[in-house]
C-alpha cells in the first residue's frame, strides 16, 4: 500500500515538474509569479483533445500541437499584457495574470463546455511489478517528463540561449551590458514555458479527465513545488515537484483523501515560515 502510494506520488510529482519548471523559469526572467499557469495547462489539454479526438490524429501529434499552441498563447499574453505592465510592479502583474487566467479558462469553457472529456487512447492492462500496479499512462508520463527535463537541462547548461536565460535571470542589467537582450530572452522563455505547460496539459489529460478546471486543480501544488525549490531555481522546482507529489499521495495514509490539496498549502505555509528561501535557497521571500 505505502509502496504503491509512493510510486503514484513519484509519477504525480513528475507530472507537476513540468508546470513547476515553467513557473520558475518565467519567474526567473520576468520576476513575477504567473498565476495563469493552471489555465495555460488547461489550454494545452484542450488543444491536444481537439487534435486527438476531433481530428483523429495520434496523441504524439496532439502533444506537439498542444505545446505549440500554449507557447503561442504565452508569447501573445506576454506581448499584449505582461510587457506593457512590466514596469508597474509585481502586484499589478500578479493581478493581471489572474485576469489572463480567467480569460483562458473561460475561452476553453466557452468552446468545450463543462463536460469531462478524455483522449482517444486504447485502454491497456496495468503491469504488476514487485506488488506495485503500474498503468500505461504512468509510464508515458514518466518517460515524457524525464525526456523533457533532460532537454531543458541541456538547453540551460550547454547552449548559448540557456546561458543567456540564466544570465538575465541572475542579473538583467549586467546581462544587458554584455549584449544579451532581455526582450528576446523573455520571449524565448515564454515559448519554452508555454511548451512545457502544453505538454503538462496533455499528460494531465491522460492522468484524469479534461474539464475547464483541470489546471486550476493543480495550481496550488504547482506553486508549492516551485516555492519548495526556491522560486527561480529549475532543479529546485523539479525536486520540489517530486516532494509535493509524494507528500500528497502518501498523505492518504493519515488524512482523508478529500484533503489532499491541503497538504500543498500546509507545505507552502510551513516552508515560508521556517525556511523562506526554499530548500535550495533563492530570492528572499520576506519583505
Amino acid at each position: 500500500m505505502a509502496a504503491q502510494l509512493f510510486f503514484n506520488g513519484l509519477v504525480t510529482g513528475l507530472l507537476l515538474a513540468l508546470p513547476a519548471l515553467a513557473l520558475t523559469l518565467v519567474f526567473g526572467v520576468l520576476k513575477f509569479a504567473n498565476f495563469a499557469v493552471g489555465a495555460m495547462l488547461t489550454l494545452g489539454a484542450y488543444a491536444a483533445w481537439v487534435v486527438n479526438v476531433q481530428l483523429g490524429l495520434p496523441l504524439t501529434a496532439a502533444a506537439a500541437i498542444a505545446a505549440v499552441t500554449v507557447a503561442g498563447a504565452g508569447l501573445l499574453t506576454d506581448q499584449l499584457v505582461f510587457e506593457r505592465l512590466r514596469l508597474r510592479g509585481s502586484i499589478t502583474l500578479l493581478v493581471a495574470s489572474m485576469g489572463v487566467s480567467l480569460v483562458i479558462e473561460n475561452v476553453c469553457r466557452f468552446f468545450f463546455g463543462n463536460a469531462s472529456r478524455g483522449f482517444d487512447v486504447a485502454l491497456s492492462r496495468p503491469i504488476r511489478w514487485e506488488g506495485i500496479r503500474i498503468n500505461q499512462e504512468q509510464i508515458t508520463i514518466a518517460i515524457t517528463v524525464v525526456v523533457c527535463l533532460v532537454a531543458v537541462d541541456v538547453l540551460l547548461r550547454f547552449t548559448p540561449l540557456g546561458r543567456a536565460m540564466r544570465a538575465v535571470a541572475d542579473n538583467a542589467s549586467l546581462a544587458a551590458v554584455r549584449g544579451v537582450e532581455r526582450r528576446t530572452i523573455a520571449r524565448l522563455t515564454w515559448v519554452l514555458g508555454g511548451a512545457l505547460l502544453g505538454l503538462a496539459g496533455v499528460l494531465a489529460g491522460l492522468d484524469r479527465s479534461i474539464d475547464p478546471l483541470i489546471g486550476w486543480n493543480y495550481q496550488i501544488a504547482i506553486f508549492a513545488a516551485a516555492i519548495l525549490g526556491g522560486l527561480g531555481s529549475p532543479i529546485g522546482a523539479v525536486l520540489g515537484a517530486l516532494t509535493i507529489g509524494v507528500a500528497e499521495e502518501m498523505s492518504a495514509l493519515i488524512i482523508p483523501t478529500n484533503y489532499r490539496q491541503v497538504v500543498s498549502f500546509a507545505v507552502i505555509l510551513a516552508l515560508l515560515l521556517f525556511r523562506a528561501n526554499g530548500l535550495l535557497g533563492a530570492k528572499a521571500a520576506r519583505k
Binding site: 493581471a96 480567467l102 466557452f110 484533503y259 515560508l272 519583505k287
Partner: protein, 306 residues
Amino acid sequence: MIAYLVTIAILVCVAALVGLALNLQWGQAGLVNFGVVGFVAIGAYATALLAPHLGWFPAMLIAGAVSAALSAGLALLSIRLEENYLAIVTIGFGEVVRLAILNEGWLTYGALGVADIPRPFAALGQMIGGDTVFIAFALALVAVVFVLLEAMARSPFGRVLRAIRDDATVTSALGKNVFALRVRAFAVGGAVMGTAGALHAFYLTYIDPSQFTPIVTAYAFMAVIAGGRGSNVGLLIGACSIMALLEGTRFLKDFVTVIDGVQLSALRLGLIGAGIVLLLILRPQGLAPESKRRAADLLPDDKASA
C-alpha cells in the same frame, strides 16, 4: 422584472461590501488577497448556522468577528511575505475553506448546504413587503460600512496604511509598527468580508458551497481596479457599474439563442478577466482615482494664523 431588479440591487450591495473590504486591504494597504471568497464564505456560514439560534444581529456580528479573527490569524502567519508568496498563501486559504465546507458535513451540511436562514426584520417585511425592507436593510448596511471605512481612511490609521503601501521602509524608519498595522488592516477587511457573507446568506436564505467560487474574488478585484485603487467612492461606482453590466447580460439569455447558458456564463467570466487586464493597461488609475492629499492640506494654514 421587479424581482429581478431587487436581486441585482442586493447583489450589488454584497459586491460593494466585498469590494470595500478589498479596497482597504489591497487599495489602501497594498496587501494582495486572492482568498477573498474564503472570508465571505466563512461569514455566510457563520451567519447561516448561528442566526436561527441567536437571532440575526448577533449572528452577523459573530460572522464579522470570526472572519476578522481568521483574517488576522492568516495575516500573522503570512503578511511578512513578499507579494508573490502572499498571493499564493491567500489562494490556498480560499481553497482550504472550500474543502473544509465541502467535507465537514457535521457542521456545514457539505454539498447540501444550509437552508432556512432567517432574514432580518422578517416580521416587518410581512407587513410592508419583504423586498422593500430587505433592500433598505442592505443599503443601510453598505452605508454604515462605507461611512466607517471612509472615516478610517481619513484617520491617522488610514494615512499610515497608505504610507506603508507607498514605502514600507520609510514608514518603518519613522517608527511605525508596519507589521501590526498590516495585520490590523487585514483583520478589518476580513470583518467586512464576513459581513458581506452575512448579507449574502440573509438574502438567499439558502447557501451551499457552489455559491462561493473564486469568481467572487475576481469580481472584487475588478470592482477595485475599475473604481480606482484606494478610493471608496470610486469603489462604489465600480461595483455598481460592473454588477449592472454583468447581471444585465443574464437578460441576453432570453434573446440570444445561439449560445447556451454555460457559454453565456463563460463569456461573462471571460469578460471579467479581460476587463481586469484592459483596465490595468489602459486606465490604471480607475474611474474615480484616490484623491491625492498634499502635505499643505494637513498643515495649519500659515496665512490664516499670521
